[in-house]
Symmetry: C2
């Protein structure tokens, strides 16, 4: 089957106006989405490999996939290894795609890419590298995989076109009209004639609309063009009356156009701008917009002198990074309800296992979904739950299959549970790790070190405007002291009832080049971990809100402040997540006095906040369990 | 006077083949040196402003200098403010030079720069910005300031041409022949036909030669070109016999050519390479090499198709970053001798002040130089001593003038002394801060927090290969907790009897883009501080050596290691600097048990190492003082 597909693709490559020596198929949609819909799963279809990351390159004689260490085994199981070559991109000796092409194709070769599936930021360096090697990178407007699928009678599924809902201002805190007017103000300052919004969560944020076209991400396939005079939404299907009337009420006067017409509208706009006024118009867009959008906006194919583009971090991305007061209060509220669901799950799980019942990872995950469904404004999980029991906890992006044998959560397993919910008032993402019986000394020590790292970040004070990177080492300090570490970042931004991973800030040793510096009102995760391959995994993940700290703030370090970093301002965190850590896994003697009182105060706050609701709801057994879990710890 | 100079410069700008709308005069020499010789102090001559940093821009109607916050007051005192405009580059609203030019010159304007005074890394973004604004950046080969000076009968001083000395292998640990052969091996791997070395410390390092053409930096004006067949050194003046015979003994077969001929030799080389073999030759050089060198090496003016350049971090810079065993042992040894000099100075200073004598900052600095001169292999200071008493301690780059009234070090002053020495076996850089009488509670608290930061870095363990950036926040953590910070980086690399600031690694929140990742054998400074403007400054600066740590290492955290970061390897520091911290300034109750035992162990090591030498030399009073300073501290 894979051979047939490859053969048909190669025939199509050869029959292009200039024959393609190579065709690149990334894992991507036209909006640079982190998760993609099945209609865009082209690399999966051609290679057979179903992992979430990887780029395929097909030449007349070779077929390769570059992917990372998470997927080496899976690739070899899923792909036909007589046809496909695995390029292990985590190994330092593996050539990059650029250098592989440069050394394996002959000079003069033409490499094709669907320009919808590459961002400008990805396109430019590849183009430069190929030009240096006397080769050419060419945009192929029609996607060749889609064409092959159609030819072979296996056309791609329809692009989703699910109902769009309107999110009222009681959740968003700012009307769509207000957001558009603020963006137009920025357009005036930037002296641009149009702003093109291409990221799906940015369109949803700007218009206070939500969708469900991509699993876990409440977005809908669309583009948005804002000019001083008009707002054009390019979207599939029609808008429900409720949506239209909210937009009207929020003074967002938009015209709705077909999703597929965005390129021709951009070209027409470029043409129009090039002939009006002094001809010095610019169009503003994200450098993460696709190469296809960049070309259309510049009028590459329709103008002699392309229009000037300002291609940089999107102003919408910077606007939604800082949550407003209503969004922040929503985050606080949904974390209380989400905490209840997670607390009930762990109480239930311990009861089951203590009673000798059999619970699989997926059953635990399903039960958690049930508890979340009990909570108001719950809209669905914010990502695929990671329920890692025993050795599976050490697989950072673990996702158990519903097919085949199931892993049972055993009495002597550590159980890492990473999950989150989408609520109308916010998005959650929490990891707690609990031992189902009695942890070993090694597990307690690692658990406590990860917790010390989380506290060092959670309690840190830092100057306003520093990048999130400066906090990363705090999370690792206690682990580093004994030669341990974890192979992922410490924190990511989170959208407000939007994507659970949101840029442009983050906490990692890796640079976040577009991080504008930390400000009050941002949401970040705080999630150090430790993974012992083949044995167990530990991760403690909270969401935190960045707050401004003065001497009077409610923060354990506020009272002893003597400066404000020479006027820059003091920032710290308010932890949103409200679920206790398992005390049996904490070695109290490894904690400093500060850490011990910090964790006791956190547990007291969890009990105060969540306990009262459990009581109101008559969930007395859950309350009793929580009281025990939150009772203060003391040193031996 | 300044007007005459400006008028002459403007006349010269107007008379260029294409008239210059602006001429840019950076603070720079042709080698991207951090410190420059008087012959290259062109910005100083045209503007009258003598600060160490700043870039002048002269147009037909405007004359501006961009400089940073250290120099605002000095600029206004030194420059003729009726002619010159100060551009405060530390303020966020100050336009960059690029954007000032783009908005203040008319389209079509030509901006001139001496391409010797701009690196390729500086040239390219300026060129891009000007092109966007429909302007042109043009290289002006003859320096217009030099020309004006000659016209006006005030020619620039002669380029220094001081004696070059040969540094024997007992200090360098590796012969020049060996270094050249390793570089040639890298050239083979990189498939290049020539390597051009332009940084003065890189030439000195490669050939095991030292000079004194730039104050404090033991370098000499030169370029070096290495090809598979030849090594060409471009240098002023002749080489002494001792130098020639060491080079011969070290199997470094070099030909010596005049310094001023490097460009024409590079052009000839480019021409020759373009016509031999397959014509696919490349030349390798640093992206910090000047634009003039880049153009000559590519043959821009002599070839139709310029030669391919590989312009990136220099391989010599990466080679000398990791010190060999002989260099490391030299560093350890010269730090013992340097410690003796600093210890003797502080003992002497306290005696003087306790006895009521008057000691100025400069007298203390001169006395320190005397003590350093007592030490073997001392070659001179490694930078201009910073002797900041009282409020002067808060001026980070303070340098007292020998003219005018002198600041006396008072009994109730904090005294910050930052100094270093060049020794044949290594380079030192140390800051100690001591109160001459009784510190206030605020001073003790700040002193202790800075010390806690230094200990957190000095005792850190971290994975091999991480960038220095990840350590920066450790140095600030204790200060950040109370809203304090310092406005400089935490650590810089140090050359081996070479520049006291050496790239490409560093410890800062600012990215060090060429940091290849930390490795054993690197030298870094560890220097947190705190500055209360108008009152006092505190800095604790040690040099540290990066060492590999295993369970058996001599390191306070070695015994408790349980991992090696999954095989990446554990790194830590060995502190080289050996001078005690003033115990009267340490609030012992703010230290953790670990910190208290760490500082006591450090003081015991200082006494063990230095004390025995003081005893051998019969410096009994110094020994007694040191014994008191190094006696263990206990908690109240």
């Amino acid at each position: 089957m894979s051979l047939q597909r490859l053969t048909a693709l190669r025939a199509l490559m050869a029959s292009q106006p200039t024959a393609l020596a190579a065709y690149i198929i990334p894992t991507a949609d036209a909006h640079n989405s982190e998760y993609i819909a099945p209609v865009d799963a082209r690399r999966e279809w051609i290679s057979g490999f179903t992992g979430s990351a990887g780029t395929a390159v097909v030449t007349s004689s070779a077929a390769l996939v570059w992917t990372d260490g998470r997927y080496y085994t899976q690739f070899q199981q899923e792909a036909d290894m007589s046809l496909w070559t695995l390029m292990k991109q985590s190994l330092p000796d593996t050539p990059t795609i650029e250098s592989w092409l440069a050394s394996n194709l002959t000079a003069g070769s033409v490499v094709g890419v669907d320009p919808h599936t590459f961002t400008r930021d990805q396109w430019t360096p590849l183009q430069t590298a190929l030009t240096k090697a006397s080769m050419q990178l060419t945009p192929v407007q029609t996607n060749l995989i889609d064409e092959v699928r159609t030819q072979m009678g296996d056309p791609p599924p329809k692009r989703p076109n699910n109902d769009i809902i309107a999110l009222p201002v009681q959740y968003t805190g700012k009307s769509a009209g207000q957001k558009i007017s603020e963006l137009r103000q920025k357009m005036v300052e930037k002296k641009v004639s149009a702003l093109v919004i291409t990221a799906l969560d940015e369109v949803a944020y700007t218009l206070n609309l939500r969708g469900s076209d991509i699993e876990y991400n409440p977005v809908f396939f669309s583009y948005l063009i804002i000019t001083p005079a008009a707002v054009q939404l390019f979207v599939n299907g029609s808008m429900a009356d409720a949506v239209t009337s909210q937009l009207r009420a929020e003074l967002a006067h938009i015209s709705v156009l077909p999703y597929t017409q965005v390129l021709q509208h951009l070209q027409a706009l470029a043409k129009e701008l090039s002939t009006t006024g002094d001809g010095k118009h610019s169009i503003w867009l994200s450098s993460d917009a696709s190469e296809a959008i960049h070309r259309a906006a510049a009028g590459v194919d329709v103008l002699k002198t392309p229009l000037n583009l300002i291609s940089e971090v999107s102003p919408v991305s910077l606007m939604k990074l800082v949550k407003n007061d209503v969004e922040l209060e929503g985050f606080r509220q949904c974390h209380i309800r989400d905490g209840i669901a997670v607390i009930r799950l762990f109480k239930w799980l311990h009861d089951q296992i203590d009673a000798g019942a059999t619970v699989t990872e997926i059953q635990a995950s399903d039960k958690l979904l049930e508890f979340r469904k009990d909570e108001s404004d719950f809209m669905g999980p914010s990502f695929s739950t990671i329920p890692g029991a025993g050795p599976n906890g050490a697989i950072i992006h673990y996702s158990p299959s519903r097919d085949g044998p199931q892993k049972i959560i055993e009495k002597n397993d550590m159980f890492l549970l990473d999950s989150g919910g989408q609520y109308k008032d916010g998005t959650t993402d929490i990891t707690r790790t609990r031992h189902m019986g009695k942890p070993t000394a090694e597990q307690k020590s690692a658990f406590t070190r990860v917790l010390k790292g989380q506290i060092m970040v959670g309690s840190a004070l830092f100057p306003q405007g520093v990048k999130g990177n400066v906090l990363d080492s705090f999370a690792r300090h206690s682990l580093w002291e004994v030669g341990l570490d974890y192979a992922h970042g410490t924190g990511h931004g989170v959208g407000h009832f939007l994507n659970v991973h949101e840029g442009p800030s983050g906490v990692s040793w890796r640079p976040y080049p577009h991080d504008p510096g930390l400000k009050p009102g941002q949401i970040l995760s705080n999630e150090p971990g430790f993974y012992k391959v083949g044995e167990f995994g530990i991760r403690h993940e909270d969401l935190v809100e960045i707050i401004k700290i003065t001497k009077d703030s409610k923060h354990p370090k506020a009272a002893t402040l003597v400066g404000d970093y020479d006027g820059r301002g003091v920032l710290g965190f308010n932890t949103l997540t409200l679920v206790p850590h398992q005390k049996e896994c904490i070695d109290v003697n490894m904690l400093t006095d500060f850490e011990l009182s910090y964790i006791n105060a956190y547990h007291a706050r969890v009990l105060d906040t969540v306990g009262v609701i459990l009581q109101q709801r008559g969930l007395n057994q859950d309350l009793q369990w929580l009281q025990r879990e939150c009772a203060p710890m003391r040193r031996d």
